[in-house]
């Protein structure tokens, strides 16, 4: 039995909920493979289109496996006011990738995020679930170095 089949088995008997199911798959696999859409649809008793619509409708649902560390640079207004663009530029330079890309060694995926509620300590960078505040271009290197 594949891991996805196992996750789908656990949702049996519950009210079918596409988003919740996709998030459950993502939390175990790191992403939702598009090829699994028909199997998910069958298990939930909905159409393929409904599942694909949810999968493409939410920015935080991934269809590809990300790098080991997802680095998200906040683009919320408070971070913009505190010139987060300079932080982003430095991270891009250090990692050698742009937004939405993964480093060749699979260590980092670089993304933007609209606000993580850390606006009183802007600029903000989120690595995995860890939030870092008052990030300056000069401190970016230390943050990244700690991610193996």
């Amino acid at each position: 039995m594949s891991r996805i089949t196992g996750i789908l088995k656990r949702t049996e008997g519950c009210q079918p909920n596409i988003l919740k199911t996709l998030l459950a798959i993502q939390s175990e696999l790191g992403h939702v493979p598009p090829a699994s859409v028909p199997e998910i649809a069958r298990a939930l008793g909905v159409t393929d289109a409904e599942v694909a619509g949810v999968l493409s409708g939410y920015p935080d649902l991934r269809t590809e496996a990300p790098g080991r560390h997802v680095v998200r640079v906040c683009q919320g207004e408070s971070c913009v006011a505190n010139h987060c663009g300079r932080v982003l530029k430095e991270i891009e330079k250090k990692l050698g990738v742009g937004l939405g890309e993964t480093t060749r060694d699979g260590r980092f995926t670089l993304e933007k995020v609209y606000c993580v509620g850390n606006c009183a300590a802007s600029p903000t960078v989120m690595i995995g679930e860890d939030v870092y505040g008052r990030v300056a271009p000069e401190t970016v290197g230390t943050l990244l170095k700690d991610c193996r």
């Binding site: 079918p16 596409i18 409708g57 408070s78 995020v113 609209y114 009183a120 939030v131």
Partner: protein, 499 residues
Amino acid sequence: MMRRLYVSQDTTARAVGADRLAKAWEKERDVEIVRTSSRGAFYLEPLVETDGPHGRIGWPNAAEPDLPRILRGEGGTPIDKIPFLARQTRVTFANAGVTRPLSLEDYRSHGGFAGLDAALRLAPEKIIEEMLVSKLRGRGGAAFPVGRKWQAAYETHADRKYVVANADEGDAGTYCDRMVMEGEPFRLIEGMLIAAYAIGATRGYIYCRYEYPAAARALWEAITILTEAGYLGEGALGRNARAGGGFTLEVFVGAGSYVCGEETALLQSLEGKRGMVQPKPPYPAVSGLYGKPTLISNVLTFATVPSILARGGAWHASLGTEHSKGTIALQIGGRVKQPGLAEVPFGLTLEEAIEEFGGGMATGARFKAVQVGGPLGSLFTKAGLKTRICYDEFARAGAILGHGGIVVFDQETDMVELARHFMAFTADESCGACTPCRVGSVRAREILDGFAQGRGRPGDLDLLADLGETMKQASLCGLGQRAPYPVLTAIEHFRKEFK
């Protein structure tokens, strides 16, 4: 002698080193680290506190080598002497920085459940009357009178009703909901319990955004604690057997869609669907989640309810201005000296908020503009700083208070780039249900891309104004209706930069 040190476990406090301090110091002999919520004076974090003879003493921006100094009691500041905090009227955030977020004992000993206890002594109609008298308006952004929502949900008969907390705090520059959820989750749940009892709901959800993992964890733990203590779950509601079928509460985590903060899109998302905005009516209070009456309000709104029931609707209506009652949680940020949360009665001016609480501009920064109300709010220049922070004055200025976010920009901010940023955000986040927003936001972004690349054409500004007007008039929800405001106010105030 054992010395107790209070260190916040709020996400922002942790983001600036609170965990590092706690970890380094917990190994010390005779030191007990107590993790609390945050005062919201984030410019002081990591803020370490000890018990003094007349209340807490604080050591702002503490670092590891400060420990001996703190233990000797050298150089601390009495917390109640810090002007940023002393000038506030803390009601909903009264316990911020004081209590342990998941201690039921702390919550009870600091006034917790006084509102629920009062509510359970009243008939549902009386509770709704208190809410109407309080004149509380929704704190999420739409500012709808809360009592009227409760009344509509109460009067609609159904075999099942829901209470839903909108914890999809997506307006950039705001974090007061996050502070409630991480810092005092019991207060939010108490408010939801009161609402459930008043309208006769048996099930509830907290729709929490994906970007708030710590808040979601705190909520789940709080629900477990309250279920074990008999407040939640099937059977008794709020430990009161008289109050019907009980109240079961769940946390539902979203997946990064801003438009899911709009109530109809949120309810679609809660059902597991793509978060598409639905036309109203029917309003959720009549037909919401799974077609059942659903009372949906944002986190701060529910968190305000316990004090209203505990102290009475008339007390709440005595705070604030004529049409804006109670307190507002301002989240002041951007290029100010003192970013943080200020809970104050409505009615102070923007200038007072920025100067008295924000502490003026950060070192080296000169004021250029201030954005109030998140990505759908309006930009103000110096000339607008006398505007009083209340619903009516903001409405007259064509602006909104939104979720209370105030972001100050400095002289280095490129207004064309900022306008483009706002419209790109809407183009990214539009759900696509209506054409003005779906197409309008993309077209407007393209025009602004042109300006950003220095190839704005004659007539482009008129075209933007026209497009903006169409979006305002014809969009289905607040996203499309309000998205043109930051752009149009940027053009209005900084026309010279658009070329």
